[in-house]
């Protein structure tokens, strides 16, 4: 009941934002949506394990990611407001921006909670629509190019997922059933036709990599995070990637109980390793700060999928990793916006000595860098360590050594760039034009980063219990 009200209200708010041209009404509606999202999240906590409206279940994974999403939503809306206020926007483009961001958050919420593969698919489609509006926000040539690539690759990926669903239905028909909900698939797991299931996994996995950010479909996401305004980019680089993870994880949980388990792991290993490799190569080359952050996301998703494929403690670590990564990466994107206001450039070559101009923000960047490269006391250190342990225990020693080597290169490249931004003075910078930035705008970044550290080092027992429950459906 409440879920229906939430969906209707959220779509209504998105619609009203779309037609409204008044700034005060716009802000009121955005605040209303923030309250609605928070309220729904709290309500979801009370409905744990219940199913509503046939197609939605408040299971552990859904709840964990929903809480992550709602925590990131509040600063995202706040920074969007600041961003819009500072730019000379027409009422029309403001309306479109907020309407799209509300639609994006709502459809991600619904997709997290969906218990039916076709429903996840529908809401994934809606995220493509709303994300493309956000990417095209600046309406220039480069934004158009980014949008076009994103839309085209996501359209192909979404078609792939649909083909996968069709193969899955063929697989299920042999078992004499035609209900594609995950619970029903799990019930018939022994009777699924392996040939069709194999094809289904290939297509669904490939399709969702566009959202998750793995090889082969990761390219679209990079351009998207680069061209979207930073507050929207923060959502694309964190919670939208988690959506791809949900799609793959829920289907993988079924595959894991069939004879295709080892084959599927092999596929995931290949994709994950190639992702880390590609991310490493680009990290050493890239000069655009936003793209560097986006490639760091690709690398982290590769690590997460390594954890999933290695199994054992890796399952737990993968889910922990994906949640902590969302907090850290979104805070870096929020901070990037202030960095851009200081230097008016995305290129590493035109940015430097940030500590002098905005010490508060510089500490966020330093902290974010330490967190994102999984150095202690970062929470990611814990999850990454556990993933490496699972690789070790699964005796994938060679893979582990190569991945560690690649990660060292990533840390070197990331560190080189971030330290340049923080300390090296840049030639020919006109210091008169540099605006004074209110240190309070970095508060949300501190909160997100500290949440990540806290959850990693001293997780509350509820949190641990939820993650353990989420991975319980996988074989040990």
């Amino acid at each position: 009941m409440m879920t229906g009200i939430y969906l209707i209200c959220a779509f209504l708010i998105a619609g009203l934002l779309f037609v409204n041209r008044n700034t005060i009404i716009n802000n009121t509606l955005v605040i209303l949506f923030g309250l609605l999202q928070t309220g729904f999240t709290i309500y979801a906590g009370f409905e744990y394990k219940n199913s509503v409206l046939v197609y939605f279940t408040f299971d552990s994974l859904g709840l964990l990611l929903l809480f992550t999403l709602s925590i990131i939503t509040i600063p995202a809306l706040l920074h969007s407001y600041l961003y819009i206020k500072r730019h000379d926007e027409t009422p029309q483009s403001i309306a479109l921006y907020f309407s799209a961001i509300v639609l994006l958050i709502t459809s991600i919420t619904a997709a997290y909670l969906a218990n039916h593969i076709a429903v996840i698919w529908i809401f994934t489609e809606m995220t493509t629509l709303s994300a493309s509006v956000l990417i095209y926000h600046h309406r220039n040539k480069l934004a158009l190019e980014g949008t076009w690539k994103y839309v085209f690759i996501c359209a192909i990926s979404i078609t792939f997922v649909f083909i996968g669903i069709l193969f899955l239905s063929l697989s299920l028909q042999n078992a004499g059933s035609n209900d594609l909900s995950f619970a029903n698939l799990m019930a018939y797991k022994d009777q699924l036709n392996p040939f069709w299931l194999r094809l289904a996994f290939l297509f669904i996995f490939t399709g969702f990599t566009a959202k998750l950010g793995l090889v082969p479909m990761y390219t679209a996401g990079i351009d998207a995070k680069d061209k979207a305004p930073a507050p929207a980019g923060a959502l694309l680089a964190s919670v939208l990637m988690n959506l791809g993870f949900v799609g793959i994880f829920r289907f993988y949980a079924i595959i894991a109980h069939t004879s295709l388990f080892h084959w599927a792991n092999l596929i995931i290993f290949i994709a994950a390793f190639l992702s880390i490799f590609v991310a490493t190569v680009y990290m050493t080359k890239v000069t655009n700060i936003k793209r560097m952050l986006a490639y760091s996301g690709i690398e982290h998703m590769g690590i997460v999928m390594l954890g999933i494929a290695a199994g054992g403690i890796g399952y737990y670590a993968a889910i922990l990793h994906i949640i902590l990564h969302a907090f850290i990466k979104s805070s870096l994107f929020f901070q990037f916006n202030q960095l851009y206001r200081t230097f008016q450039s995305k290129s590493i070559n035109h940015v430097g000595n940030y500590f002098k101009y905005n010490p508060t923000g510089a500490i966020v960047l330093l902290f974010g860098f330490i967190s994102a490269t999984a150095m202690p006391p970062s929470g990611l250190f814990v999850s990454e360590f556990l993933i490496f342990r699972s690789l070790f225990e699964g005796s994938y020693i060679i893979l582990l050594v190569v991945v560690l080597l690649l990660l060292t290169i990533v840390i070197w490249a990331f560190g080189k760039n971030i330290l340049k931004i923080l300390f090296l003075p840049v030639q020919g910078l006109n210091e008169i034009n540099i605006p004074k930035i209110n240190p309070w705008e970095s508060l949300s970044q501190y909160i997100l980063l500290f949440t990540a550290i806290w959850l990693g080092l001293n997780p509350p027992s509820v949190f641990v219990h939820l993650i353990q429950d989420a991975v319980k459906i996988l074989p040990n």
Partner: protein, 210 residues
């Protein structure tokens, strides 16, 4: 009769491989729409009438008429040149597509499944790979869009194979069709033609990493 139509569908793919002008692609897309109309009519006999009418309307109005007319309009409006400008010669395209079809036939022969009419599988999978091949081997953005539309047609054929048992999947496929086509063609119509005067993919390479 269904088999004849589906074989015609495959022949249309081979025809596209050697076509020299963009307008031929548009016509083939229209023909494919009519073929799908026929296949739908013959194949989906167990589903409710209103649902069947919806699907038939989608194939005939959307696939066979609206999209091709719209593409023709786009070509005229953006003054896209008539050549398809493939990276590879037509002869090689023809061979590659033949190989794709042969491989899918071989793959289909290895299936032991009594539920599925294998020809649906062959047609849809070879259309999928052919579409991807067209996207990879043609220079203009509009031919990429057409390659994508062809992939959608292939997916539609596959959804018809399970359509009698799960009509909802066919409806989902239609949703995908309308949604993706509107999004892609919408961007194409409104923006790309205006901003980029000569619409080659070469122009879309400004977003890069170094």
């Amino acid at each position: 009769m269904t088999n004849v139509l589906l074989i015609l569908f495959i022949i249309s793919l081979l025809y596209v491989a050697i076509a020299n002008r963009i307008i031929t692609y548009v016509r083939v897309l229209a023909i494919q729409g009519f073929i799908l109309f026929g296949v739908t009519f013959l194949q989906l006999q167990d589903i409710q009438t209103w649902n069947l009418v919806l699907i038939l309307l989608e194939t005939i109005v959307f696939k066979a008429l609206a999209v091709p007319i719209f593409l023709g309009y786009l070509i005229k409006r953006n003054k896209i040149t008539r050549e398809t400008e493939p990276y590879l010669p037509h002869f090689i395209s023809l061979i590659i597509i033949t190989i794709i079809v042969v491989v899918t036939v071989l793959l289909a022969n290895s299936i032991q499944d009594t539920h599925l009419d294998k020809i649906f599988f062959i047609v849809s999978l070879s259309t999928l790979f052919t579409g991807l091949y067209f996207i990879a081997s043609r220079k203009k953005i509009i031919t990429h869009v057409m390659g994508y539309l062809m992939i959608e047609n292939g997916v539609f054929v596959l959804s018809l194979a399970v359509g009698n048992e799960m009509p909802n999947l066919v409806n989902l496929g239609i949703m995908l069709d309308v949604f993706a086509s509107v999004l892609i063609l919408g961007i194409f119509l409104n923006k790309i033609g205006d901003v980029f005067k000569d619409v080659d993919v070469d122009q879309l390479s400004n977003l890069k990493d170094y």
